[in-house]
Structures are given as C-alpha cells and as structure tokens.
C-alpha cells in the first residue's frame, strides 16, 4: 500500500482484513533507517510516522506498517507533591515515600501518537536499542500503546545494527520483550531516585548553611558519581602522599662482534644498598660470566580483541584525545547513520555465524586501508580472537558499511577510522617475529637479555596505533661460553609517584569495579566535572610509566591474554619509575583528573564518617549493579533487590546523619574556594 498524499494517519480507514502493525523505535534516526529498509525505500511520512507495507512472515504475513519512534524514556518517576520540600518531611523519609510514574511533560504528544496509532494495529513491534534501557523503554511504549488498544499484541525486534539485511532478518524473527530486564531497569530507576534525592538533600541541607560559594552550588549525590569521584580523590592522595625510595641494581654490558648487549638482572632491583653491594661484589669476584641458555623461538604480538564500548572509550581518550562522552556521542551518530554496529556492547567475541568476510569486503574500496582489506579478502582473512565477554545482545563494535571521509565530520572520521582499522586488525593475523633469549650466570647472579626481530607485521600494517620494533641485533652466544663482561655496574634509582588518572584510567577503574554500565560511564565522568568536584589539568612532561599500563598485551609469549590481560599487572611487576619505564614522552599533554576542594571534602567526609560502607567507595554501587544483573538472570526479583538496597543505603544514611559533624568539618575548608583544585590551596 503506498500513499501519495500526506494525510493524518488515523483518518485512514483500515481495509477489511488488513493486518496492521505498529513499529516503534527508540529514536527518530532508527525509525527512519528501519522504515527505509523494510519499505525498500518507498514510504510515506505523516507527521513522524512512516507508512509502508512489509511481510513479517510468521503468522502475520504481509502487513501495512506504521513506523514511529519515541525519544528515549517516555516516563519518569518522582515523589508526590508532599515531598517536594527539601527539609520537610526529612530526607530519610524519601527511602520509603510513595513515588508516581508520569509521562514526561514534553513527551505527551509522543505517547498520544503511539496510543492513537495502536488503535488501528493488532501488533506492536518494539524496535528500541537492544540493551537493558532499551527493554525498559520498550515497556513504556507498550504501556502507552495499551492506552489506545488494550488488546494489542506485543513483539520485539532483536537487532544490533541498522544494516539492511540485518534489519530485515530481525523483522522476520520477532521475539518477546524481556520482562526481567525491564524490572532490573525499573529497580535501578527507583533506587537512583530515592538514594540520589535523599543524599543530595542531606548534603545540600547540611553544607549550604556553611555559606560562601557553597550556598550557590548544586551539591548533588549520585550512586555512581561518588565512587567515580572517590577514584579521583584516592589517586590524588596516592600521588600527594607518595614517598620516593632509592633502589639499587646491577647492570651488565658486553661488547661482542662490534655489538653492545645490555643484560638485566634477574632480581631487577633491591631496596637495600648493603645487600646489592654484597651481591655485586660476589659477581665481580666471579670474574667470568657463563652463558646458561640461548633460546631462539618464534614469538608474536597478538592482534587486538574485538572492540567493546569500554575499550572504544579508552582508545578514544588515549589515541584520539576525545572525552569518553564525546566518543560515545560520535559513535552513536555513526550507528544511527548505519556506518557502524551498535556502540554499546560488552561483547568481545564475534558470533561464529557472522559473515565477517563480507564486512571486510566492503572496506576494499577505501583509499587508506582498501588494499589491506583486499589482502584479507584474497586469503589473508583469519577468524578474530575470542574474548571472554558476551552480553548476548550485541556483537563487538564493527563497521557496517564503508563510508568516505568526506561525508563525515572530523571526529566522526577519526572514530570510524579507529573502529574500522581495529576490525580489520581483528580479521588479520598476529604479528610474528623471532625472539632470542640469552641467560647468563655471573657468580651466583643471573642476567638475561632478549632480542626480537619482527618478521611479519600483519595486523600492524593496518592497526597504526600499535608498534613493534626490532631490538638491536644480538651477537652470537653459545651455551657454556664463558667471558669476562665488558662492564658490570651497580645502578641506583628512585621510585616515582603514580600519575593522576587519565580518563582512560578512570574508565578502566569504573569498569573493573562495576561503577555504571559501559554506556553510562562517560556521563558520570562528565557529571563530576559539571558539579565542580573534579577538574582536569594537562599532565606535564613527567616520565613515570603509569600510562604504559594502558597498552595491554605488549608482546606475550604464552596464551593470548583475554580482554584486559594486562590489568592484573597494576602492582609492582612493572618497575614503576624504574629504568624500565621510559616511555613517558607519549603521555605528555594528556588530560588528567584532579579533585577540587569540594570533591575532596565530600569524599573525606563520607570516608571518615561511615567507615564500613563509605559512599566514596565502589562497594555499595557494585553490589547494586550485581543485583541488576541477578534480576536479568532471574535469580532474584525486583522487589527483593529494592528492599535490600534501600535498607543498605538507609543504614548508611542514618550513620551519616549521626556523624554529619565530620562532613561539615572537612567541608569548612572548602567553603572559601570550593572549585579550586585541592593542591593549589595546600601548596
């Protein structure tokens, strides 16, 4: 059925026996894209509704379709009017106060449109994004539709990108709305409302009277915001309190065949001079070193894992110098235009059934990586590595269609390039090389060195964000060979403090500690800046190696490390500030987070008064996040989670109230310059 004249849709008389279907997406861009694909490009628009015919198969068959959309959540929950006053009834009453669910004022028209359209439809198909929030928005749409047609049937389209074939397949494979996910989100919404309001009022009521600029600021509390702020404050004090210490080591060099080789000590470094001297002396007494091992073996540098949201944000902040939030906005735009898959995903493994070669094929026309993609098509293709995460909803982020840089904005272009290069790297092969390990015994001490020659760059040719270089060539050594080292020296160094957190570090911390979902992390980070709890400064030319930690999976010998393989090494292992970490050059000019007076006061205040369950720590929030997951998995219920979490936070609230003096005391300092960086005042 094609309409040529735009007319108000509800006036169209339904044809007898006509199967009418109402489709609703989460936002206009998706609505338009889906309508475009299902209709084959020929649809008519009425207001924001698209009309066309489509054969859904299954029991519905050929139907006339109206496609429309909402704009995010339709409803919000709020307290009743008796609770609007900030001081009375007292904030703790908000933990149990009645709440009501309303359609947003500015969304009434949208809700009405859905109700109106539902009147003529037998089936409602939900096309919201396939994640927890999307599921909840789906339920809101159902509620709105049932106002117009209580008997309407409901189905959900499961899709993760707006590529044509994928959308068509989703339309013919409709599923049910997942009530568990809906419940999880509504529990989260209720908890955020109660906890957020109670603590925001508590903090504000107590701190505003301290006067000064505090009287003007919004002192909000959020169950994700605070732990996020907590990370910044915690790192800040770790930097500030740091005490450098000297350490000693032994360095050995040998000249052979005109080449100089440096061997490193198996003990790396010792924090005691006397012991180091003692061992050094025994080395010298031994005079000759003996080669105990010469091993030449193939080595590889692993190609990256398929891209998740968290990794995308980390890469965008580190490599493209965008903020996490910017990156998500840009990615969202690329997704809405159908260039990349859904950018909110935890999955780092591609489904075996996906036709990745076809996606690679689409990139062969590109000026920059086209030849590389062509190489993959011509036989270089390798199945990507598989990480351990699967959210069962979306594939890893990957390009859907090729797009010329000229039609993209500067940032879109760069992000698209990253996503595409990463994808092609995933479909390529590990870089290969030959490593030579030489081990020496010198007295009782052991030393070793490693030489690497890169033989095949493979994925590195397209993944320009990583490098792997030949080390200087090693001279030939044989096992049993003895020689007097050209030089054996005692070395001395000093530990240096960790770096302030970069946005990438912060995202990684939030991820590891379950603060926020990958989709909301960037917003929380933005929020604590908006609230003037933290500020960013440019990191100077410090040379400490903290940033190197982000470069997971440098070059590994064992099994491929799964996502975040490098994470566990945060402590100790890598000589922080030791001779080994001289890669700070790249880190210069990076934005880092430092707390303000106010930010420090809030965290210290809560840390000091509620020791067990400080709101500045990630534990409470993490528990809540796990509960959400449990609801989704069906192992607990919304009611049980609400009861438990509310009781927990109320306990903390009462504790905080008892000791509010502590918070006030710390905040007194912040009164004068709340938004000034903490360090500026102390120094």
């Amino acid at each position: 059925m094609r309409f040529t004249q735009p007319r108000p849709f509800h006036r169209l008389a339904p044809r007898l026996g006509d199967m009418r279907v109402l489709c609703v997406a989460e936002k206009p861009s998706i609505s338009k894209a889906v309508a475009g694909h299902l209709s084959g490009g020929s649809f008519a628009t009425y207001i924001k509704n698209y009309a066309f015919d489509f054969d859904f198969g299954q029991q519905w068959g050929s139907s006339s379709v109206t496609m429309t959309c909402v704009t995010g959540h339709l409803t919000n929950v709020e307290f009743t009017n008796e609770y609007k006053n900030w001081s009375h009834p007292p904030p703790e009453s908000l933990f149990t106060a009645p709440i009501v669910k309303n359609v947003h004022d500015d969304k009434r028209d949208i809700a009405k449109n859905i109700a109106d359209q539902a009147k003529y439809a037998r089936l409602l198909v939900i096309w919201t994004d396939c994640d927890r929030e999307g599921e909840h928005i789906g339920q809101e749409i159902v509620d709105a539709a049932k106002v117009g047609n209580a008997a309407i049937q409901v189905k959900r389209a499961r899709f993760s990108n707006v590529e044509r074939a994928h959308v068509l397949a989703a339309a013919r494979r409709l599923v049910e709305l997942d009530e568990k996910q809906v419940n999880a989100v509504s529990a989260r919404i209720e908890l955020d409302l109660r906890i957020g309001y109670a603590f925001t009022r508590f903090i504000t009521n107590n701190l505003k009277p301290l006067g000064g600029p505090l009287a003007e600021l919004v002192l909000s509390y959020g169950s994700c915001q605070f732990p996020t702020l907590g990370f910044v404050v915690d790192r800040y004090f770790r930097v500030k309190n740091f005490v450098p210490e000297p350490f000693w080591g032994i360095s050995l060099t040998h000249n052979k065949e005109g080449k100089q080789v440096r061997f490193s000590w198996a003990r790396n470094r010792l924090f005691d001079r006397m012991t180091a001297v003692l061992l050094y002396e025994r080395c010298l007494d031994a005079k000759k070193a003996k080669v105990t091992k010469v091993q030449e073996k193939p080595t590889r540098k692993f190609k990256p894992l398929p891209l998740t949201t968290v990794e995308l944000q980390k890469a965008a902040t580190r490599l493209l110098r965008m903020s996490g939030q910017q990156a998500m906005t840009v990615a969202e735009g690329l997704y809405n235009k159908g260039f990349i898959s859904y950018p909110r995903t935890e999955t780092d493994r591609f489904d075996k059934g996906m036709n990745l070669r076809a996606l690679v094929q689409k990139q062969t026309t590109d000026q920059r990586w086209g030849p590389f993609a062509q190489g993959l098509v011509n036989g270089g293709f390798q199945q990507p590595r598989e990480g351990r995460h699967d959210d069962k909803a979306h594939p890893p982020i990957h390009p859907i269609a090729h797009v010329a840089p000229s039609v993209l904005s500067y940032d879109e272009g760069r992000l698209y390039e990253y996503v595409t290069r990463r994808f092609l790297a995933c479909c390529s092969e590990d870089a290969k090389g030959m490593a030579t390990d030489i081990e020496l015994q010198f007295g009782d001490e052991y030393f070793s060195t490693r030489g690497v020659i890169v033989l095949e760059r493979n994925y590195l040719d397209v993944y320009v964000y990583e490098s792997w270089n030949n080390t200087t060539e090693l001279p030939k050594f044989t096992v049993g060979e003895q020689f007097e080292p050209s030089e054996a020296m005692m070395t001395e160094g000093k530990t240096s403090p960790p770096n302030y957190l970069t946005e990438g570090d912060l995202i990684a911390l939030m991820d590891a500690n379950g603060i926020g979902t990958d989709a909301t992390m960037a917003e929380h980070i933005q929020k604590i800046q908006d609230r003037e709890y933290v500020a960013t400064i440019m990191r100077g030319n410090d040379t400490a190696g903290g940033a190197a930690g982000e470069n997971d999976e440098e070059e590994a010998n064992g099994a491929p490390a799964a996502r975040g393989g490098g994470r566990g090494r945060g402590r100790g292992g890598r000589g922080r500030g030791g001779g080994a970490s001289a890669r700070g050059g790249r880190a210069s000019g990076l934005k880092v987070f430092v707390p303000t007076q106010l930010g420090v006061a809030l965290i210290l205040g809560f840390d000091r008064m509620s020791f067990e369950m400080s709101l500045g720590k990630p534990f409470l929030r993490k528990e809540m996040e796990l509960q959400m997951k449990a609801i989704c998995e069906g192992s607990t219920t919304r009611r049980a989670v609400l009861e438990q979490s509310i009781a927990q936070y109320k306990q903390v609230f009462l504790q905080s109230q008892e000791q509010v003096g502590v918070l006030k005391q710390v905040s007194q300092k912040a009164v004068t310059f709340p938004n000034v960086l903490w360090q500026v005042i102390i120094v």
Binding site: R238, F242, V243, E245, F247, T275, L279, D511
Partner: protein
C-alpha cells in the same frame, strides 16, 4: 631405660634443635607408662619449635651445648666464610627487599581500611565471622573489633612473595647473637607473614656467610616451622609503623 636416647635420636633425625637432658627426662617421665615414641616426638617437636632458643633458665629445653654462630660471624670485613657446624636459629625479623617500603605501606593501609586491590579492582575485605556459616548474612554489622582479624587474613593472602622476591631475615642463635640472612636463591617457604617470627631454621655446615650476612639457599637452609606467638603478634602490629619509619613517612613533611 633406653627411651631417652631413642627419643633424642628421633628428634635429631628430624633436624630439630637438640633437646636438653632435663627436657627429655621431663617428657619421658611425665606419664607412666610413657606414651609411644611417635607421640612423644610430636610433643617434643611442638615444644621445641615454639620455644625461645635463647632461654637459658634451668628449665631450658634446648641442649646448652648445641652449636652457635662463630664469634666474628657478623664481621663486615670478612668477604666470605662458611659455617663449620649445623646451627639452629630462630627468625626475629623479615623484610621483602624487592618491594618498596611505601608500596607495602599502601597495601597495609588499604587493608586497615578494609580494602584490597586486585589489579584495578578494589575488593572489600570482610572479617570471617565466628558463626562461619552466616558469613554473608550481615556485613554491615561487622564490628570494629573483628577488623584486625580480617586484616590479618587478607595480609596473609597477599604477601607470600613472588618467584623473584628477595627477603632479608634477621636470625638469632641460641646465645642471642643476631645476624642478617639474605635469600641467595629463592626459598619458597620464606615470605612476609608466611614466615612466622620465632620460626626455627637449621643452617647447615658449609653455609656461606659473606660480609656478615648469611646467604640462604635451599641446600644450606632447612625450614623447620614453629612460631613464638607473642613475638609474632607484636611484629605484625608494629609492621606498618616500622615501614613508615624506615621511609621517613612518620615525620610531618
């Protein structure tokens, strides 16, 4: 009765510190008829390993003629010498020289706050409750008093020392002489907290002493276990303060 020499042989066969005659007599005559050798040995072992080697009172349980360190063992001017006899010693202090003291301070302070870090993850440490089975019922009721227990448990779990860790111990012989000892080769039984204060070791004849420091290797050093509870507790309690003092963080800056 040949019970005493029999028991003595059994004790020495286990490399345990040589017992005094009075101790052997007390053990074998405490009950009549005396318990079988294996249970006497077990009792003797427990007592010997928990004793203070330097106790010289009349009730001392260590053989007063057992070998001790040579007089000049701690002479820094001597480049290398070797122990002439098997010598039993007890551990009075231990440090990990591979970690900066500040790193250890940060870890201990985190544990005091009830946290631990695993990679980037911050983990809350919950004290094991007495009722055991109800451990997960109410974490919020955890009292101030139970926290040190949690801290100790957590600390025990974390600081075992890696494959390349180098520890320095202070060892004491029967006469109370104290000497530094360093792991020349890694000995897996040695670690902060893993090694108890008061733990007994046997340094074998031939063990190298360089510049006044005993060089420990698995071949020359046998860990016997044991612990002097009071010492260990005091040592644990004072560890944070000692670490801070040694990096100078105890003074206001």
């Amino acid at each position: 009765m040949d019970l005493i020499p029999q028991l003595q042989r059994a004790i020495l066969a286990h490399s345990l510190p040589p017992p005094s005659q009075s101790f052997l007599t007390t053990l074998t005559t405490a009950r009549s008829p005396p318990p079988p050798i294996p249970s006497l040995l077990a009792t003797a072992k427990a007592r010997l390993l928990a004793s203070d080697l330097t106790n010289t009172s009349t009730s001392a349980i260590i053989d007063p003629s057992a070998p001790v360190f040579p007089a000049n063992i701690d002479a820094a001017t001597v480049k290398e010498t070797r122990l002439a006899q098997n010598t039993h010693v007890q551990v009075v202090d231990i440090e990990n020289l591979s970690l900066s003291r500040w790193e250890q301070v940060e870890e201990l302070e985190a544990i005091e706050r009830g946290e631990r870090t695993r990679g980037r993850q911050v983990i809350r440490v919950v004290a094991p409750e007495d009722g055991d089975n109800e451990a997960d019922t109410s974490t919020t009721q955890q009292t101030q008093a139970s926290r040190p227990a949690a801290a100790a448990a957590a600390a025990a779990a974390t600081t075992t020392g890696g494959a390349n860790a180098v520890h320095r111990l202070v060892l004491q012989d029967r006469q109370g002489k104290r000497v530094f000892a360093v792991e020349l080769k890694r000995i897996n039984g040695i670690g902060i907290i893993k090694t108890h204060i008061g733990e007994k070791m046997l340094l074998k004849a031939g063990a190298v002493v360089a510049r006044g420091t005993v060089l420990l290797t698995p071949e020359t050093c046998t860990l016997l276990g044991g612990k002097i509870d009071a010492w260990h507790e005091t040592w644990m309690e004072g560890r944070l303060a000692r670490l801070k003092e040694s990096v100078g963080a105890d003074r206001p800056r």
